[in-house]
Subunit: 528 residues, 2 copies
Amino acid sequence: MTITRITQANSERIEIDERRYRRVAVIDLGSNSARLIIMRTLPDRFYYLEDEIREVVRLRSGMTEAGLSKEAMARGVATLRMFNRFCESLAVDELIATTTSAVREAANRDEFLAKVASKVGLRLRVLSGEEEAYYGAIGAQNALPLNEGVVLDIGGGSAQLSLIKAGRWQTGQALTLGALALSERFVESDPPTRSEVRRIRKEVRRQLHEIPWLNEASPTVIGLGGTLRNLARVTIRHRKLPLGTVNGYLLRDDEIKYLVKRFRKLPLNRRQRLAGLSSDRADIIMAGAIVAQEVLRWLGANGMRVATYGLREGLFFEEFWAALDYPVPDDLRESHVRNVALRYNYHATHAAHVQRLALRLFDDLAALHGADARERQWLAAAATLHDIGNAINYEDHHKHSQALILGNGLPAFGPEEVAMIALMSRYHRRGRPKLHGFDPLFDNPAVAVQRLRQLAGMLRVAEFLERSRAGLVTDLRVEWDESDITIQLIGEERPVVEMWDAGRKGVDLMEEAFGRTVHLRYDGEAWA
Amino acid sequence: MTITRITQANSERIEIDERRYRRVAVIDLGSNSARLIIMRTLPDRFYYLEDEIREVVRLRSGMTEAGLSKEAMARGVATLRMFNRFCESLAVDELIATTTSAVREAANRDEFLAKVASKVGLRLRVLSGEEEAYYGAIGAQNALPLNEGVVLDIGGGSAQLSLIKAGRWQTGQALTLGALALSERFVESDPPTRSEVRRIRKEVRRQLHEIPWLNEASPTVIGLGGTLRNLARVTIRHRKLPLGTVNGYLLRDDEIKYLVKRFRKLPLNRRQRLAGLSSDRADIIMAGAIVAQEVLRWLGANGMRVATYGLREGLFFEEFWAALDYPVPDDLRESHVRNVALRYNYHATHAAHVQRLALRLFDDLAALHGADARERQWLAAAATLHDIGNAINYEDHHKHSQALILGNGLPAFGPEEVAMIALMSRYHRRGRPKLHGFDPLFDNPAVAVQRLRQLAGMLRVAEFLERSRAGLVTDLRVEWDESDITIQLIGEERPVVEMWDAGRKGVDLMEEAFGRTVHLRYDGEAWA
C-alpha cells in the first residue's frame, strides 16, 4: 500500500459511512426461550450487536400429542408481538423470523402459525432439523475456524449435529436431545438420581447410533448453545481465568465430567447459585452436559471448543455474507480483527503502517526469535488494534485497548491468542509486559511471557517509528549480530520526530527481549 | 422539542460530521516543562484531546542576569522543533505557540526568539504576566463554574493570581512565586529546613501584600497547575476515593497542612515514592504547597477547588468559543455533558426523549421527593449520558457508561456530582444502586443513597418508557397518594412494548425508592 498524509477523519470516513448502515433483526422462537437480536451492519464489511431481547417462553412445556398448549401459544404470540413492535420502532431494514423444534414437531403447528400471522402480522419460518443444524454450523464457523469436524448445538427442544468437511457443511440433523426435552422426559428427582442419569445416557447413545456419518467424522468438535456456554463459564470462573468471553474456550471432557459429578450432588437451589451458571438453566443443565459427554466419547475427542455464535448468527451471516458462495469468509481472523477495529473507529492508515513496519521487524528477525506463523498473526492483529482504546480516551488508551480486546474477545482466535494480542496492545507504549493472570492458558508461562516481550517490543518500535502518523518511515531493514540490532530506516525525508522518540522511549523493551542494543539509522547516519 | 422517528445513524449525523473537524494545537514552553496538546474540534460545539506530548525542559535552570543558558536554549529549540514537526505531520489546522515567565524575564529573550524563528520556523508568542493570568483563568472557568472569586495558577517559574467578578476576569498578575523558582532561591537542604520554609512563607506574604485587589476578593478559590493537581491526587489516593480525575476536588487547607508536614519529614527519594505524586515534581512540590497555604490564609478561605484545565486550555478555548463575547459558555455544565455525549456518539434523539420524561417525573413528584435544582441537573445529565457505554459494547453498556463518566470526570461538576451521575447511569436498566466507595464524598451517605435510588428509579422508568426508541410516549402526568403512584402516558398510539417492558422491569426501583406501587396507564386504561 502507499502511505499518504491523511487526517484521522478522512481515513475513518473511507472505511465507514454511517449513511450506508442497515439494521438486520433475527427472531428465533425456540422451545425454551425466544430471542431477538438487532445487528447494525455495513453488508459484507462490518457489523455489531446493537440490541437484544431474551424472553423465557418455554413453548414446549405442557406439549402433548395434540400439540402446543393454549397457554404456550399465547405466550409465544405475546412475545412475538413485542419483538415485532420493537423492530418496527427501530425501523429495521430486514427481519428474519424463525422457529424450531417445538413448533416443527407440534401437531397444531398450522394453527399456531396462523395465529402468529393474524395477530402479529409475522410470517414465521419453521426450520427443518437439517436447516437448524446448517445455520448453527454457519454461526459456529463464523465464530471459530473449522475445516474438518463436527458441530454440536444443544438447544432446549432438540440438539443438532453437523458434519464439516473441507470447510463446508456436508450434512446434519436434529435429534430430540434438547436439554429441556430430555429433562422433562427422564428427570423427576432433584438432584437427578443415578438411574435417571443412566437412562439419559442410554437414550443419547441410541440416537447417536442412528447417525450414519458420525463414525467417519474427524474428532474436532465445536459446541453451541446455552448449555455449553454455561458449562464453559462455570469452568472459567472455577479456574479464575480473566476472560471476557467463553468463545473459543476448550472445554475438556474431564472438566465436563467434574461438573456432572457436582450437579449430581447439588439440589436445584444450590445449582442455581453456582458461579457462572444462569439460574434459569440450572434445572436442565445436567441433561445437556450428558449429551456433550456422550458425543465426545462417541467421537473419541477429549474436548470441544465452545462458540458463542449459533443459529441466530448463522441466519444473520447468510444475509451478511450474501456476496460469498458459502457464508464464511476465507480470511475469518482478519475479518474479525478488522470488524473490531472498525467498531472503534480505528485510524486505518496509521494501523496499516505500524503493521507493515512491525511485520518487517518480525520477518527480518525470524532467525533470531524463531516465532511461528501463528504468532506472526498475533503481531499483525495487535498492530491493527493497538490504538482502539482512543475510542474511550487518549489518556491510558493502551489500557483501554487491552480492555476492549478482552471484552470483545476476537472471534476466530483462542483465549490464549486473545490474551496475547490484548497484552501486546497494552504494552505498545511503555512498561514491561506481564501475563496478568493468563498464565494458566499457557503450557509454559515463562516462554509465553518472553515471546510476549519480543512481540510487544517489535510493536513498540514500529509504533514509535510512526509516532507522528505521517508515514515518513516507509520501510526498514534489520541487521543483527551477537550484541546489536541495527534498524535501517527507509523514507524520503529524515524522520526527525520518530528517531527522537523511538530512540529515547521506543527501543527499551526490544533491547531487553532480544538481549541486544538497538540502533536506529537513517542514510547510514547513526542516531542512538 | 418534537420527537420524530429517526434512526441512530441519522440522529448522530445531525450532531456530528467528521468532515467539519479541525485540529487545534497549543504549545506552551514553560519554565519547567514544555507541553503540546492537540485538540480535535467542531468549533463552538465539540472537542476532545487527541494527542499530547510533555517534555521536561527546565528552561529556567542555569538562568543568570545574562539570561537563559546556552544549554537551556538548545533544549528549548530541540523540543520546539519536535513539536512543530509533529504538528506538521498531523496537518494541524491551527497552531498556537506561547512561552511564559522564563523567556519573558530573560535578558537574552530576543536572541532566543530569533533562534526559534530561524531554526524551527516558529513565531513564539511571549505572554505578559497579565495575559498568563488571564488565559489560566479562562481555562479554570471552563473547567469549573466561578462567578466571584480568585484563580491561583502555580507554575514552575511564576504563579498567577486573577480576580473574577460577575463571571468575568477583572484583573490579574504574575508573581515570581513559581514552585521551581522559589525552590531554587530558598531551598538547599533535603528535606527543606524549618528556616527555609519560614523564608519561603515570608517571601510569599511579601508579594501577596503587593496585590491591591486581593483584600476585596471573595474567598472562593480555584487552583491550577501541576503542584496543586499533585497535592489533590496525593490526597485522593490517601482517602482511597475511586475518582478518575482531580478536577473539581475541594482541597482543604488542613489537607495541604498535613502534606506540608509530611514533606518536611521526607527526603526527596521518599517523596518521589509518595502515591499520586509524580517524581519530577517531588523536589519542588513543597514550595508550591506553601504558596497555596499562604493564599488561602490571606483570603480566609478553608480550601480551593482544583481544576485540570489551565493556560493551554485557556488559549484553546479563546479559539473554540470565538463566537462568544467572553470565552466561557453560559451553559457550562450542559455544554460539557453534551461534549462527553458527542464524544461517544450518543443517540441524541433517544437521550433527549428520556430526559424529557425523566424530568417530568421529577417535577410532578417534587413535593414527594423534595430534591433541589442541583439534583435535577444530575438527573438531566444522567438522562443524556446513560447509554454512552454502547460506544464500548451493547452488553453491560450501563456499566460502560459508568466507567466513561468517571474516567472523563465531567468538567464543571464536583466529584460527588460526577459520582451521582455515573451511578444513575450505571443503574438505569437494573439492580439496586449503592455508593460503590464514594461514601466519603457525602456528609450523609444514607441520605445520598436514598436520593440516588429515587433519581435512578425515575431515570429507569423514563428509559423503559422509551424502550423501543420510537418516542411513542410523548409526555406523561403523575398522580400519587399515600400508597400509589400513577403515571398517565400520553401519546398518539398505545406504547405496547414500553408498557410491557416498563411494567415488568422498569418500575421496581422507583417503587422501592418512593415506597409506593407504581401504575402505568394509557387512555385511563389500567396496565400494571
